[in-house]
Symmetry: C2
C-alpha cells in the first residue's frame, strides 16, 4: 500500500529523475512477466509494449518499402520535399490528436499548445543534430560504399549506450553493457556478406566520420528523450508538435539549399508515386512511434526495437522477395536474441 | 578460520560433490581477482590457471602445426600409428612423473599404480567413445566438406554444456547458458568464410551425424571429468596412466583394422618427418593438459580454453603465414570475449 501511494505521488508531481526511476525495474517489454503487478503499473507496461511493437512493425515495414521501391525502379523525386512532407504530416497528426484530447478533457496546463521560451528553446537541437548528420552522410560515401555504411551504422548502438549513460545519467549494469556490445556485434554479423571485409579497409577519415555520425545520431536520440522526459506530465502530442515544427523549418531550408531548382522547374511533387506516398506515411508514423517510445520507454528500448526490426525485415524478405538467409544471419540473430535476454536480466540484477 | 577448517576437511576426505563444491565460486581463471583469498585457495587457483594456459597454448600451437604441415605438402604417414604413438608417449610421460613422485613421497594408496576392477572398469569408456566418433568422422564427409565440418564441430560446445549439466549434475545459471550459446555462435562467426553458407544445405543425415558426433565428443569429455573427479585424492598421473593404456589398446586395434597392409609393406614409421614428430609431441602434451584441466578445473574451462586457442591461432597465423583477419573474425572474437566475461559473471551470480 505504501509503495502504491509513493508511486501515485510520483505520477502527479514527479521530477525528471522520479519519472526515470518509475520506469526502472520493469524490464524489457515482452520479456518480463506482468503477473503480481498493480493495475496502474500494468497499464503503463501495456502502453510501453504497444509503442515498442508499433515501432518495430513500422521500422520493419519501412525497410521493406525501401527494398520494394528499389525493385520497382528509381523515382526521381526530391528527398528533401519528402522529408518536409514527413515532418508536416507528423505535425498534422499531433494536432489532430490534440484536438481530440481538447474536446474530451478540455484545455489544461499540460495539453495546451502555447509554451514558454524556457520550454521551447531546446526543441530545435535534435532537428539540428539530425541535419548535420544528414549533411555528413553525403561526404562519408567518399570513403565507404552503401553496404559498408550500413555496417558502420551499427556503431550507433554503442554511442547510444554511452551517451544514455553520460547525458541521462542512468547507470547500466555490466551485464547491460555486455548486452550492448553483443547487440552491435550481432546486428553487424547478421548483415555480413561476401563484400563486408572491405569495411576494414576504410581509411581513417572514414572511420572518424562514421564515429562522429554515430555520436550525432546517438546524441540526438538521447537528447530527445531528455527533452520529453523533462516534463513527464506534459502531453506527448504537444511535445511532438514543437519537435516537428522545427523539423519542418530545417527541412524547408534544406529544400531551398539543395532542391530549389528542381522544385521550381518540375514542381514540388515531381516523381511522386504510390510507393513514395506510402513511404512518407510510414516515416511519419514511425517518427511518432519513436517519440512515444522516448516518452513511455527509453532509448535502449528504441535501439532494440529497431535492431529486431532489421532481423524481421530479413525474414519477411525471404517470403516477399525470395531472399536467402545466410549462416551469418542466423548467427547474428542468435547473438541479438541473447542480447535481448541479457538486457532484461541485467536490468533486474541492477 | 571456520571456513579454512571446513575446506581442509574437504580436501582430505571429500566426496565427488565436495570436490566439485570446492571448485565453485572461484570463477574463470584470469578473470577473477585473487586478492583476499586464503593461501591454499590461491595455490589451487594458480594450478588451475597454469593448466588452463598450458592447454590454450598447446591447442593453439597444435593448429599452427597443422597449417604448417599442410603448407609443407602432404605426408603419407598412417594416422593410426601417429595416434598410437601419442597414447604411448602420454603413458610414458605419466609413468615418468609417477616415478619422480614415488621417489620423493614414497608409494601411497593414492599414487600406487595397482588398482581395483571397481576403479578401472570405467576407464575404457572415454577411449571407446572417441573411437566411435572417429569412425563416424569418415562417413560425415559424404555429406559435408572439411570447412563445413569445422563449423559443425562447434555444436560440441552446446553438447558439452548440456551433458555437463545432466551427467555431472552441476547447475548452470541462465547467464552461463547464455554464455554457452554465445561461445558457440562466436566461434562459428569467427570461422565464417565465403563458402560457409553451404553448411545450411547439409542434408538431414549429415545434421544427425554431426549432432551424434557432438554428443559423443561431449559425453567423452564429461565422462572423463566424472572418472577423474570421482577420486579427488587419487594421483592424476595414475588416473592418466589407466586412461591412456586403454587409448593405446584401442588405437592398436585401429592400426590392425585400417592400416595393417601399409604398416606391413612400408614400415611403422613410413612418411614420418620433423613436423610429424612435433605434432605427436604436441598432441601428447595437450592430451595431458586436457586431463589436468579435468582434474583441477572442469569441462567448461576446457571448452573456453580451446575456443580462445582457436582465436589465438588465427591471430598468430597473420604473422606466421600472412593470413588476413576478416570482419567476421573480429565480430566472432568480440562475442567470444563477452561470453568469457559472462561465464565468470554468471558463476559468481549463481
Amino acid at each position: 500500500m505504501e509503495y502504491r501511494k509513493i508511486k501515485d505521488e510520483d505520477d502527479d508531481g514527479g521530477t525528471v529523475s522520479d519519472d526515470i526511476e518509475s520506469l526502472k525495474g520493469k524490464g524489457f517489454p515482452g520479456v518480463v512477466s506482468i503477473s503480481n503487478v498493480p493495475p496502474k503499473e500494468q497499464a503503463k507496461w501495456k502502453r510501453k509494449t504497444i509503442v515498442t511493437l508499433a515501432l518495430t512493425f513500422l521500422t520493419s515495414s519501412q525497410a521493406i518499402l525501401i527494398v520494394w521501391s528499389k525493385r520497382a525502379g528509381k523515382y526521381e523525386y526530391s528527398v528533401t520535399t519528402a522529408n518536409f512532407l514527413v515532418e508536416t504530416l507528423k505535425c498534422a497528426l499531433s494536432l489532430a490528436a490534440l484536438a481530440r484530447i481538447w474536446k474530451s478533457e478540455g484545455v489544461t496546463d499540460d495539453n495546451r499548445l502555447s509554451t514558454t521560451l524556457d520550454e521551447v528553446i531546446v526543441y530545435p537541437i535534435p532537428a539540428l543534430l539530425y541535419l548535420v548528420k544528414n549533411l555528413l552522410q553525403y561526404y562519408i560515401f567518399a570513403y565507404v560504399d552503401a553496404p559498408g555504411y550500413q555496417i558502420l551504422k551499427n556503431l550507433n548502438i554503442i554511442s547510444t549506450g554511452v551517451l544514455y549513460r553520460i547525458i541521462l545519467k542512468k547507470k547500466l549494469s555490466e551485464i547491460q553493457w555486455a548486452a550492448f556490445i553483443l547487440l552491435c556485434a550481432g546486428c553487424t554479423t547478421a548483415q555480413l556478406n561476401s563484400r563486408s571485409d572491405q569495411v576494414l579497409q576504410t581509411p581513417l577519415p572514414g572511420w572518424i566520420m562514421a564515429i562522429v555520425m554515430a555520436l550525432l545520431s546517438g546524441f540526438a536520440g538521447v537528447y530527445t528523450e531528455a527533452i520529453i522526459k523533462k516534463r513527464p506530465s506534459r502531453n506527448i502530442n504537444v511535445q511532438n508538435f514543437w519537435l516537428y515544427i522545427f523539423g519542418m523549418a530545417f527541412n524547408a531550408v534544406a529544400i531551398l539549399v539543395q532542391d530549389f531548382d528542381a522544385v521550381m522547374n518540375k514542381g514540388f511533387f515531381h516523381g511522386y508515386s504510390l510507393i513514395t506516398t506510402l513511404m512518407i506515411l510510414n516515416h511519419a508514423l514511425s517518427g511518432i512511434a519513436v517519440s512515444m517510445v522516448m516518452k513511455y520507454a527509453d532509448n535502449i528500448v528504441k535501439v532494440y526495437s529497431t535492431s529486431v526490426a532489421m532481423l524481421l525485415t530479413a525474414v519477411v524478405s525471404v517470403f516477399l522477395f525470395g531472399f536467402n538467409l545466410t549462416l551469418a544471419f542466423f548467427l547474428g540473430a542468435t547473438v541479438v536474441s541473447v542480447s535481448v535476454y541479457l538486457q532484461s536480466a541485467g536490468k533486474m540484477q541492477r
